[in-house]
């Protein structure tokens, strides 16, 4: 736990100093509106120590939290060839290059092989910072390879989703990834290998409507936005504001679509426990 504790009064800073200090050392929590020391946040797995709000984390950090040390990264260097030569106000090619530079990843997916509390697993973690974690041909191929590896090695599969859904700039190519991945999951299911789907903030669109909802267990972090249609699209359709908490993890649990909501600090223990149950 944090070795540097501060009282709330010490956090009452003037707006001016706050602006300076938030650059780097401090972050404001969207959950409790309090200003937290960034180091406290990082040491708490990027969960607000005051209100338990789960901040988004990158794919690499996710693997480090979930896997035992010494895991191996797989399937790197798969890059989109921009099948539609898509250009909107910007060229997709340029969007890709920018995202690659910012995340140091080839696309929105990071695969690994490793162990969770000594149990061998195949893990696929999505990178939300890469074009909203959207799923194009590279994400589709990456996830499918992870599923095939799990199928071949008979090692349990864990996919951690964080995605706005299909990647529009790859059009129907992105849509077909849903079929490809789901077909691979059918084969994984046939051989009886466990699959745990972990849904994190946000998991929407074509990702929810394919692999994220197909786990033997579907578990989510608290407060994650999870749904098929985006909240704005629904509001436009029904012409009214959505109720508070709509499409959040707690809502999905209540409606019967999640097996559990698990705090980030307990996630590794939970998955390990589930794998014990599901082991042959």
């Amino acid at each position: 736990m944090a070795w540097f504790k501060r009282t709330d009064t010490e956090l009452e800073v003037s707006p001016d100093t706050k602006r300076v200090r938030t650059e780097g050392l401090w972050v404001k929590c969207d959950g409790c509106r309090q200003v937290i020391w960034k180091k406290d946040l990082e040491e708490n797995a990027n969960v607000c120590p005051k209100c338990d709000r789960h901040f988004r984390i990158d794919a690499r950090t996710r693997l480090e939290l979930l896997l035992d040390p010494g895991f191996k990264i797989e399937d790197t260097g798969i890059v989109s060839t921009d099948p539609l030569k898509f250009v909107d106000v910007k060229a997709y090619k340029d969007r890709l290059r920018k995202a690659q530079a910012e995340t140091e990843l080839a696309d929105a997916i990071l695969n690994a092989e490793g162990t969770i509390k000594g149990k061998p697993v195949v893990v696929s973690a999505m990178e939300y910072a890469f074009i909203g974690g959207s799923m194009g041909a590279v994400v589709g191929e990456g996830i499918t390879r992870a599923i095939e590896r799990a199928t071949f090695q008979r090692h349990p599969l864990v996919i951690v989703s964080a995605s706005g859904g299909a990647r529009m700039m790859e059009g129907v190519v992105s849509l077909m990834q849903m079929a490809k991945i789901s077909a691979a999951l059918a084969r994984l299911d046939e051989v009886g290998v466990p699959y745990v789907s972990v849904l994190t903030d946000p998991t929407t669109g074509g990702v929810t409507a394919s692999y994220a909802m197909l786990g033997d267990l579907n578990i989510a972090e608290p407060g994650a936005l999870i749904g098929f249609a985006g909240p704005r699209v629904i509001e436009q359709t029904i012409r009214q504001k959505l109720p508070d908490g709509f499409q959040r993890s707690e809502f999905l649990l209540e409606k019967g679509f999640l097996d559990a909501i698990v705090h980030r600090r307990d996630l590794k223990d939970y998955v390990a426990r589930a794998l014990d149950f599901m082991a042959a």
Binding site: V79, S80, A137, V172, M213
Partner: protein, 318 residues
């Protein structure tokens, strides 16, 4: 609403008709007019073959376009509809039922749109709720149990993005269908007849043969939706339609569909009987191609098709 070019052609045809009336028995004038008739027909064919993506979208959404029941009536016999998902409701946006296809018992599943306002609301504009997808899956499982092939008809703007749909697990319903269709142990043939609206279309379209009618579209998002997100301007829908590559020709080039079903020269909306006859022939050809396969071969081919579909990436050394 008819497309703009189509309306202009109609105007020209009206003029020709007026001139014909005025021409009386002037043989030269009559000959010229009949040449003009031929020219109009030729132009009409050209417009349709060179139709841009947005025009195709308008044709795919044409209010006179045949809907699933229009095709069922013309191609199949002994149609017996089955209702309900056995868990929540019957969704009229998807219809399922038993029918005969050239002497074979088959299961039919399709989105259903409607023409008048009351019926449109009843069919929810062809936008299914989760129970529609669950009903479809139930029908497919029944077909599997009794070893009957499945034919699906795609014509939807998309799965319904409503409050209740989310509460009842739209995403879960679609996801489950994708996985179960991939391993369904009977032949599946799909035809996109009108709009192939994203996951709401794909949820009944994981098939051994996926065909597209000449003037249908299949897309991950509507051109309007794409325009408002990417261009922040819904009026850019024609540009978005073009960029998204949504026509039957585009999807064939991308390797995402297995064939194109020809339509009558003026489009399926202009002649339902002719459109149905052309679809009937194409369905029969594809069904004959796959009906003799063993279940294992069928499932392997289906898997390999989707496994290797849309692989637009390159591998760089790490």
């Amino acid at each position: 609403m008819a497309t703009k070019a189509e309306r202009e052609l109609e105007n020209i045809e009206k003029h020709i008709a007026q001139l014909e009336a005025a021409a009386g028995d002037n043989q030269e004038a009559r000959q010229r007019l009949s040449a003009l008739h031929a020219q109009v027909a030729q132009l009409r064919r050209q417009i349709h073959s060179q139709c841009e993506a947005w025009q195709k979208t308008e044709l795919a959404r044409h209010p006179q376009r045949p809907y699933t029941l229009d095709y069922i009536e013309r191609i199949f016999s002994d149609w017996s509809e089955i209702h309900g998902d056995r868990s929540y409701a019957d969704d009229p946006a998807i219809i399922c039922g038993m029918a005969h296809f050239h002497g074979t018992e088959v299961m039919l599943i399709g989105h259903q749109k409607a023409r008048d306002t009351k019926q449109k609301v009843y069919r929810n504009f062809g936008m299914p709720n989760p129970e529609g997808y669950r009903k479809a899956l139930r029908a497919m499982k029944m077909a599997e149990k009794f070893k009957r092939p499945v034919f699906t008809f795609i014509d939807t703007p998309g799965a319904y993005p409503g409050l209740g749909a989310e509460e009842r697990g739209q995403a879960e319903a679609i996801a489950r269908n994708l996985r179960e269709m991939a391993r369904l142990r009977v032949p599946i043939i799909t035809v996109v007849t009108g709009e192939g609206g994203s996951g709401g279309a794909l949820a009944i379209a994981v098939a051994d043969r996926v065909l597209m009618m000449e003037n249908s579209v299949y897309s991950v998002i509507s051109p309007e939706g794409c325009a408002s997100i990417m261009w922040r301007d819904p009026s850019k829908k024609d540009v978005a339609a073009e960029a998204l590559k949504i026509t039957a020709k585009d999807l064939t080039e991308l390797g995402c569909v297995d064939g194109i079903v020809p339509e009558p020269p003026e489009g399926a909306h202009a002649d339902h009987d002719a459109a149905a006859a052309l679809l009937d022939q194409t369905l029969l050809k594809h069904y004959n191609d796959i009906k003799g396969l063993s279940t294992d071969a069928l499932l392997d081919q289906r898997y390999d098709k989707f496994r290797h579909m849309a692989q637009f990436f390159k591998e760089e050394p790490a």
